[in-house]
């Protein structure tokens, strides 16, 4: 057992991070908030970098890597708040022409919502009568549909990876702010109430990380269900605590914190609901063989 990133996995993660910092840094993120449309050039660049074709076999023109690598790439996407129907297009690679290379934008029905319907070249699922919503997440256009699609475990896992990335990022943002913002003559991070918020954020991130990475290795539906629950918790509570640490600044449109929070809410709606995940995990408890009590 060696449950740590391999050198190749570290390199892959660093490469994706570097690409996203360069192509979707803070400035591009804020520009996207003002004009929420899909950057087709970036989409193709992601395609070229293998983001969508990561798990497609090499024989089919893909990169031939596995779920763990995809999870690392999506964690970075979550960190950067990268926009677009990333999961749907990734899952369509090899099935929808142009998805693997980023030539096509593929949207999909997930539950009763579709992200990026108007920008998509191809839509998977039944979207007849789809009604546009005023999306709470300024970076993700949404439609409501009447015929829900069944959840896909891989989509749920990649979503959990994005949640993990976002949670790790909000923890970092909170810590950075707590180190520099001064009140009462010292950095607010020296105050224990602030310190403890930050350390709980990190604990949630690390617990979610173990669950998400393990689910990527096993691809077990129950591991994925558990990873989803913990990653949603880490992302949603992380963004809230980050907002709290930022004080009034955190409540502004200028700060990025609300973007993380709103996207975390939206992602938590994708795939299996928390109730379904908890029911499945409860069922697992009684299905397991009885053991002795000491």
């Amino acid at each position: 057992m060696d449950f740590q990133l391999t050198d190749d996995q570290r390199a892959l993660r660093a490469g994706v991070r570097e690409l996203l910092v360069r192509r979707f840094g803070r400035e591009q993120l804020r520009a996207a908030v003002d004009a929420p449309e899909l950057d087709r050039a970036l989409w193709r660049e992601l395609g070229e970098a293998g983001f969508f074709a990561l798990r497609l076999p090499e024989a089919q023109g893909g990169v031939g890597l596995g779920l763990p690598e995809a999870v690392l790439a999506f964690e970075e996407a979550g960190r950067a708040l990268l926009t677009g129907p990333l999961v749907a297009t990734h899952l369509a690679a090899g099935e929808v022409p142009g998805a693997a290379t980023g030539e096509s934008v593929v949207a999909a029905v997930d539950g009763t919502l579709v992200e990026w319907l108007d920008e998509a070249d191809v839509v998977r699922g039944d979207v007849t009568g789809a009604v546009p919503m005023r999306s709470a997440d300024p970076l993700t256009p949404l439609h409501r549909v009447s015929r829900p699609a069944p959840p896909d475990p891989v989509a749920a896992l990649l979503t959990a990876a994005e949640q993990l990335g976002s949670a790790a990022r909000t923890c970092e943002l909170a810590v950075q702010h707590a180190r520099t913002r001064e009140q009462f003559g010292q950095p607010i991070g020296a105050f224990q109430a602030v310190k403890h918020l930050c350390s709980e954020m990190l604990v949630r991130v690390e617990v979610a990380r173990g669950a998400v990475y393990a689910a990527a290795v096993t691809a077990d539906p129950l591991d994925i269900a558990a990873a989803g629950l913990l990653a949603d918790e880490a992302a949603e509570l992380g963004a809230r605590d980050c907002l709290q640490v930022h004080g009034g600044m955190g409540f502004t449109w200028e700060s990025d914190v609300h973007l993380h929070l709103k996207r975390a809410w939206l992602r938590a709606r994708r795939g299996q609901s928390a109730a379904e995940a908890e029911e499945a995990l409860a069922e697992d408890l009684v299905a397991a063989a009885p053991g002795p009590r000491t």
Binding site: M1, D2, F3, R179, K195, V203, A214, E278, P290
Partner: protein
């Protein structure tokens, strides 16, 4: 990232399983929780069986008498013994999990030869004399003092919350050897024989009604200078080594135990009808997610320490914070499954619920762990 085990590791697991299946049925019945001499004998007996079978001190270095096994093998050992319902380390806790590893890491050759084999063979029990009435979280504020007299230190003061003190042969004792130095600089780490004249042990009753810890009064107790591990006044550094072992590896087996207990609780709920309570059932499902994730975090930490090959890092604080709360959540859920029975002291669930309350206090409170995570991992400024 690889969660599979090597053929050698699988082989190790298979042999261990076989051995457990052979020896566990023949174990004597467990003594009652308040029979301390009985518990000592039982725990030492189990340790002796491990020793004879070659499983003692698996995670200790080979030159300390251990098996030099990889952290992964140690993990398999904890997983399998716990799954099989084997006895827990019990009274051997301090010796095997922190005093021993500390002496292995910091002690001289003579010290290792004197103290380590009896721990592994199940002959001597250790306790931990760190906390004092006025020095708990602020451990470095300790006042028990040791004055040099020839080849001895003469120790006076008192310790508190000392687990297993009544049945211990040795105590890892922190004393102040320089009263004038800054508080972290004047401390030394001693091995004190518990039968030395001048030691009085007064058991304290816990909220669970038992006497698992005690007050220890020290009145001019003579401890040979040769029993000091590390340099004089350098005991704080040694203490940090001890605490990293205490927080780093000590709880690993318990996560497996909690997963088993959770399964039992679910089956109990099925039997008594509480399974139909949807919010309660969902709570159990979420606890399943929680303990699965804690197990994964354990595997992560073990792999990390296997790669770095060193003493467990502050990551143990992250684990302890979450685990200690999860354990309490588990027994709170149990109380809701059991209903009125959860107030019956004859139910093992009740005693376990009461003892779960100690987890956010013992081995450093959750508040202190949060300070450690914030300052040592996240790099936030020290508070005043």
């Amino acid at each position: 990232m690889d969660l599979s085990y090597t053929p050698e590791e699988e082989e190790f697991r298979a042999r261990l399983r076989e051995w457990l299946a052979k020896v566990l049925p023949g174990l004597p019945p467990k003594p009652s929780p308040d029979d301390w001499p009985g518990r000592r004998a039982y725990d030492l007996g189990w340790q002796r069986m491990l020793y004879d079978a070659g499983y003692a001190g698996l995670h200790w270095p080979a030159d300390a008498g251990g098996r030099g096994a990889t952290p992964t093998q140690h993990l398999i050992f904890l997983e399998e013994t716990e799954k099989a319902g084997a006895p827990y380390v019990g009274a051997n806790f301090v010796g095997l999990l922190h005093a021993g590893p500390t002496i292995a890491a910091e002690g001289s050759a003579e010290q290792r030869a004197r103290w380590l084999p009896p721990v592994l063979r199940g002959e001597e029990v250790w306790c931990q004399g760190f906390s004092e009435p006025d020095a708990g979280s602020d451990l470095a504020a300790l006042r028990t003092r040791a004055r040099r007299d020839g080849d001895d230190y003469v120790v006076s003061g008192s310790k508190i919350w000392t687990s297993h003190a009544e049945v211990a042969d040795w105590c890892e004792l922190l004393v102040r050897t320089d009263a004038k130095a800054p508080k972290h600089r004047g401390i030394s780490w001693l091995a004190m024989p518990m039968d030395a004249p001048g030691i009085t042990v007064r058991p304290l009753r816990t909220l669970a009604g038992s006497t698992e810890f005690a007050e220890v009064f020290l009145d001019e107790v003579r401890v040979p200078v040769a029993n000091r591990v590390g340099e004089e006044n350098d005991g704080w550094r040694v203490t940090m080594v001890t605490l990293s072992f205490e927080r780093g590896t000590a709880f690993v087996g318990e996560v497996v135990a909690c997963r088993r207990v959770l399964g039992e609780l679910a089956r109990e709920a099925r039997k008594n009808g509480r399974w139909d309570d949807v919010p309660l059932r969902r709570r159990l499902g979420r606890l399943n997610a929680e303990f699965r994730a804690l197990w994964r975090l354990t595997q992560w930490n073990v792999s990390e320490s296997e790669r770095s090959g060193g003493v467990p890092g502050v990551g143990g604080s992250v684990f302890k914070l979450r685990y200690s709360r999860a354990r309490q959540d588990l027994y709170d859920a149990a109380a809701d499954v059991l209903g009125p029975e959860a107030l019956d002291l004859d139910s093992p669930w009740t005693l376990d619920r009461l003892s779960s309350l100690s987890y956010t206090i013992a081995a450093g409170t959750s508040q202190i762990q949060r300070n450690i995570v914030a300052e040592r991992i996240l790099g936030l400024p020290k508070g005043r």
